[in-house]
């Protein structure tokens, strides 16, 4: 029997605001433990939360980019539970009146495009970190670092529209790209600024009713989510095929063993006793404010992919690579416009530029080749001043020194030889020096032309226009044949 998986993802994104969602201390990642603190995020007696406006704007941006309806009126709620890294004994979140609802993301798998629904996006505060298993912690102790307490989060709750681990990967990749484009979250899953939990059930293909679902937690990469889902689908299918039934439970993914194991039931059997947060007034958002924020949105990844394909005539695959992040897409567009050739720019950016960055493990911002200089290089090739092959040498030089291409070309005498009399001279010399090969050619072995071209290129240190060399060589050989 074949089975179908039903998957819904819950994603938490830490918003990259300067300060915390309800107080003034730093929301930056890391720091000396318990140094990013103030009375409010420590939950000291008498403190009150004050909502960070930037966090609201970031959440609205996220909602708009994910096609949500933004609520004019939304309410914060307290989610009550006891844990040492939760200083107030409750988390300020949103419950029945979230900020954003009814959205979707579009994922593209080859030529197939699918919409994955987004139930809601709400704002909340992060909790601190409990540290158990570190060398500096005694075996019977747990330490608490509250630096993360009060860092703003949006929780993006997806509809159970995802059917395969691969779709989950595409959804998360798209989501992460969007929040990065928006500049609201750095999307770093290893540092936990983007976290994903998954709800998953399986059912026989064609069956309408949903199976019993489990929840997967503790995945710290997109690939990890995909693997965990693959594992869990296989586990659930095996249980069903053996005639068993699925337990509704939460499993923790272990990236080292590639297995998911159930959490102790006590850790998640909460009654959170949600009720409206009386220390904050309901959030009122006017249509004008939403419109202002909407106008401030950058071009989103999907739109930019489409535009690049149309405007520069590059294949969709290239467009997807080039729009991976805004900096790369900006760089590409600058090169394409200045060089006047989108396709050549695409080949160079995807080939030489990304190859170089990859090889040297660099970011685009560290690249010494400015978009202007790369465009100038492409022009030198287009105008026939240097060959494509020489251009690659020049690029390597530009990347290591940051110099302009024409400076390098001039200094190294790399200008392409396109003068036909000069080339004819070199050709005649090569023919005179290689009588055996000439004999072979005259005997009908055409392949030796390649060897002879190589000799001419070597004689000119690669500067001879290869097209011209080829032509001249053939002309000269023909002449000998007569």
């Amino acid at each position: 029997m074949s089975y179908e998986a039903v998957i819904g993802l819950e994603v938490h994104c830490q918003l990259s605001t300067e300060s915390k969602i309800f107080s003034g201390s730093s929301a930056a990642f890391g720091g000396e433990p318990n140094s990013h603190v103030d009375p409010v995020c420590l939950g000291l007696p008498g403190v009150l939360p004050v909502l960070n406006k930037t966090a609201v704007i970031f959440a609205i941006k996220t909602g708009l980019a994910m096609n949500c309806r933004i609520a004019g009126h939304s309410v914060f709620a307290r989610k009550n539970y006891f844990y040492p890294d939760l200083p107030k004994g409750y988390q300020i979140s949103q419950f029945d009146e979230p900020l954003c609802e009814h959205g979707y993301l579009e994922i593209q798998d080859g030529n197939e495009s699918r919409r994955i629904g987004i139930t809601r996006i709400h704002l909340e505060e992060d909790a601190g970190k409990s540290i158990h298993a570190e060398s500096f912690v005694k075996s019977d102790e747990t330490l608490v670092d509250v630096n993360r307490c009060g860092v703003p989060l949006v929780e993006i709750v997806g509809e159970p529209d995802i059917r395969t681990p691969r779709e989950a990967n595409l959804y998360l990749t798209e989501l992460r790209q969007i929040v990065r484009y928006l500049g609201v979250c750095d999307g770093n899953m290893e540092e936990g600024s983007l976290r994903c939990d998954a709800n998953i059930s399986v059912r026989p293909a064609g069956q309408k009713e949903l199976g019993v679902k489990t929840e997967l937690k503790n995945m710290n990469s997109i690939r990890g989510v995909e693997r965990a889902l693959e594992f869990e689908i296989a586990r659930q299918v095996k249980i069903l095929e053996e005639g068993g039934s699925i337990q509704q439970e939460t499993l923790l993914w272990n990236a080292n063993t590639n297995e998911a194991a159930p959490m102790r039931s006590k850790e998640y059997s909460h009654d959170y006793r949600y009720f409206p947060e009386p220390d904050l007034v309901p959030l009122s958002i006017t249509d004008e404010w939403i419109a202002d924020i909407e106008n401030s949105l950058p071009e989103l990844p999907s739109a930019r992919r489409r535009r690049l394909a149309v405007e520069y005539g590059v294949p969709e695959y290239d467009a997807a690579v080039l729009t991976d992040n805004q900096a790369l897409a900006d760089y590409y567009e600058e090169v394409a416009r200045a060089a006047g050739d989108g396709k050549a720019a695409s080949n160079w950016v995807m080939g030489e530029v990304l190859g170089y960055l990859n090889e040297h493990n660099l970011n685009l911002k560290d690249l010494k080749v400015t978009s202007e200089n790369l465009a100038a290089l492409l022009k030198l090739v287009a105008e026939g001043t240097i060959s494509g092959k020489i251009a690659k040498t020049v690029f390597a030089e530009m990347a290591s020194t940051g110099e302009q291409p024409d400076t390098i070309v001039a200094a190294k005498g790399l200008v392409q030889i396109s003068d036909s009399s000069e080339i004819t001279g070199h050709v005649q010399q090569v023919l005179a020096d290689n009588p055996t090969e000439v004999e072979k050619f005259l005997a009908g072995k055409e392949q030796v032309v390649g060897f002879l071209v190589g000799q001419v290129m070597r004689a000119t240190c690669g500067k001879a226009n290869p097209k011209l060399v080829n032509q001249t060589l053939r002309d000269e050989l023909q002449r000998l044949r007569k």
């Binding site: 008498g46 009150l48 006891f82 004994g89 006793r273």
Partner: protein, 433 residues
């Protein structure tokens, strides 16, 4: 505390000498011990915070000191402001200066007793369901609960966040008004504080109350009201009518549900507000627990008193899955109805006049065994907190046992002016008599 007071007093002397004194120069204050002061303990009358020192000042403390008030003491209170007799303090009961066998009322019992005994010019209390007004009545002093949102709650340790308000307790209405004005006004640190200008009041202007429409809600004069209090208020009403006030009979029909709704919503909020006192980060922690859960249970069981634990349990229950709609949601609906009752009443009158309490101060230990009976001492005060309105208790004579009794003036939202004006008139007319 003493060091800070001495230093402040020195500063005030210098400013007086330089002719730059603030409006409260010369005022000696006590502060209820759930309002934080930097470097000082804030116990909330509880074992769980017995040794807790605050690293910051409450907004009201900053504002009062900015006007040159000198704060010399923190005052005892019912634990976390939960109580009507000041018998629920980890540090022992407060006694009523008028009769030491009797309670001062609560929860701001320490503040009211200190003012009544003349230890300070005035004091700060907090009022969640009557905690300023009821003890003010029992102690024969003036106690003002401002409109919810009028005075910043930043630095007020929360009992029930949507009810709590800080207010002044004083020997005269004028002092209460002066303190109120110094404290009131929007505070960016309190999102629920109103963005409204504080009116420059004119209760001292001697303006008469001719034409003021005073409503008498009939539900506040029903069974359970002590005869002496009823008589005193009847006489006061007659005098006010003679002074030109227009007396209007009004009805607040949902009054009978107020106490129940109050105890559901306040305990729900309290169960959450008091969750942070868990022994994990600060405050009292039980020693030698074998697990996190045991540490929580023992710290909280040993750190909180009986009344606080009773309310945490009640509040936890009413928010629990399956009970929320029947209790919390229903109580919020009642709250809306109570608020509408007042809105309706204020279409025909400018303020309301009621007894503050059904009885005068009772004896220590008289009601401790019967929490429900104790809760009824707030029967005339809790509705005001459900509706978020300003109200003040003003002394209105004594009963046959020579114990003080108070009359309560309830104003429309943000109309402390009328409350203070009428209070001033009542006070003056008693003095003149």
């Amino acid at each position: 505390m003493a060091e800070r007071a001495r230093q402040k007093a020195g500063e005030v002397d210098a400013r007086v000498a330089a002719g730059e004194a603030g409006s409260l120069a010369g005022t000696i204050l006590a502060v209820k011990d759930l309002i934080v002061m930097k470097g000082g303990r804030v116990t909330c009358g509880s074992r769980i915070l017995a040794d807790f020192v605050s690293p910051y000042d409450a907004t009201v403390v900053e504002r009062l000191e900015a006007q040159d008030a000198v704060i010399i003491a923190k005052t005892n209170m019912d634990e976390f402001a939960m109580g009507s007799s000041n018998e629920n303090s980890h540090f022992g009961a407060v006694r009523n200066p008028h009769d030491r066998q009797r309670v001062p009322g609560g929860s701001s019992g320490g503040s009211c007793a200190a003012v009544a005994a003349g230890m300070v010019t005035a004091a700060l209390g907090s009022d969640t369901g009557g905690s300023i007004r009821q003890p003010a009545a029992f102690c024969g002093v003036v106690g003002l609960k401002p409109t919810y949102g009028r005075v910043s709650r930043y630095g007020l340790v929360a009992f029930a966040s949507s009810f709590d308000q800080i207010g002044p307790i004083a020997q005269t209405v004028q002092d209460a008004g002066d303190l109120f004005r110094a404290m009131a006004g929007h505070d960016p640190k309190d999102s629920t504080s109103a963005q409204l200008a504080v009116p420059v009041l004119d209760e001292h202007s001697g303006e008469k109350i001719k034409g003021l429409r005073i409503g008498l809600p009939k539900e506040y004069f029903a069974d359970g009201l002590a005869a002496d209090i009823r008589t005193a208020i009847d006489q006061l009403v007659a005098r006010l009518a003679a002074d030109g006030a227009e007396i209007v009979d009004v009805s607040l029909p949902h009054t009978e549900y107020a106490i129940a709704a109050y105890y559901i919503i306040t305990t729900a909020e309290a169960s959450s507000n008091l969750a942070r006192y868990d022994g994990a980060r600060y405050g009292y922690r039980a020693e030698q627990s074998d697990s996190l859960e045991e540490m929580y249970v023992r710290s909280r069981s040993e750190g909180f008193g009986e009344e606080v634990k009773r309310r945490i349990m009640l509040g936890t229950y009413v928010l629990s899955a399956g009970y929320y709609d029947a209790y919390y949601r229903k109580a919020q609906q009642v709250r809306t109805l109570v608020r509408r009752d007042f809105e309706q009443a204020f279409t025909v009158c400018d303020c309301l006049l009621t007894p503050t309490t059904p009885t005068t101060a009772f004896k220590l230990g008289e009601k401790t065994a019967d929490p429900l009976n104790m809760y009824l001492s707030d029967v005339y005060t809790v509705s005001v907190n459900l509706a978020g309105l300003p109200a003040m208790s003003v002394p209105c004579g004594v009963d046959s046992a020579n114990l003080p009794l108070g009359v309560q003036i309830i104003g429309n939202a943000f109309d402390e002016t009328t409350v203070l004006k009428l209070g001033r008139h009542i006070e003056q007319s008693r003095v003149e008599r």
